[in-house]
Amino acid sequence: MSSLGEYASAGTIKCNKLIAESIDAPSLNSQIYGSWDLSQNQPAAIIPTAISGWESVITPNGITLNGGNTFNVSQIGIYNIQVVLQATNISSMDIADGSITDTLGINYTGALHETIGGNSHLEDIQLCFSSLVQITNIATGIQVKGFISASANTPVWSSTYSNISIHKIA
């Protein structure tokens, strides 16, 4: 590695236009990302519970999955998180609920589908939601929680389309 000589010690270097083949600058934040889906259908709890069983769709960069349900990022910053949950049951579901939370217990956002009387005949529903999450301590993990209420059968979070994508934007 070469330094900028006398300019390296300057607090700020200013130019009007910089052309480079490759720039690695932590402040630009465009290189931390990951996308995961479920490796198999996951049984849905009846109270909000962190969903497990994620597997990477593309090779993640700067994000690790721990304990099957917790995403830890390598840098503090602001992350754009997008979630699609597919709730499935053989017969109708009354409530399907999903949310983006962290390991500190903060609930950022979510989606809810609820019907009255358990006679909706709803067999598949998507919950699609997104949030910006500021991570100030990389020990704080991101989780997706969910629950399903159904009058019969065993509802699951389907592996077909359930997905989470995380991307650092600042």
Partner: protein, 175 residues
Amino acid sequence: MTSLGNYASASVLKCNNMICNTLTANNLKSIYGQFELSQITIAVGTFTTIGNWIPTTLVKGVSVQPGTTGNEKFYVSEAGVYEIHMNLWAAQGATDITRMESRLKLYPYASVFAGSLTKVGTAADITEFTQNNTAHIEITDPLNEYFEIEAKVTFTSNTPYFQTAYTRVFIKKIA
């Protein structure tokens, strides 16, 4: 243009703080695109690629090319990781939509990268709704890899279609 003199040929230069009015880096190019439907598009009960996509004014380095059903093949100009969002607004005259499924497929592998499914066992008076999908995909061969959006809608009568007002595709290179 002023060069960095002896340092211009160095493979790596490091500084703590740099301010630039314009920054051009081949690995950080802005590549993005927003596309919409040129007309309402008929939906059928088997998976069919949605055509009729047209670019909005917000397009750079992304294009849609013709295929068997219309303008349907999304190509990007550079290899990298892309974030894709889809909003599909399905409408049906006055009777029930009983199932809608949409998905993103990466070709030439025909791999499914994202999708959504809404299904009711018995008619439930759904006449319109919007389905959203999101995905990250990695393009390694931008000349030969492209993606398409497929959907199918089942219903009790009439002919469902995708509305133009809210149906969109958003593409952004993120790495």
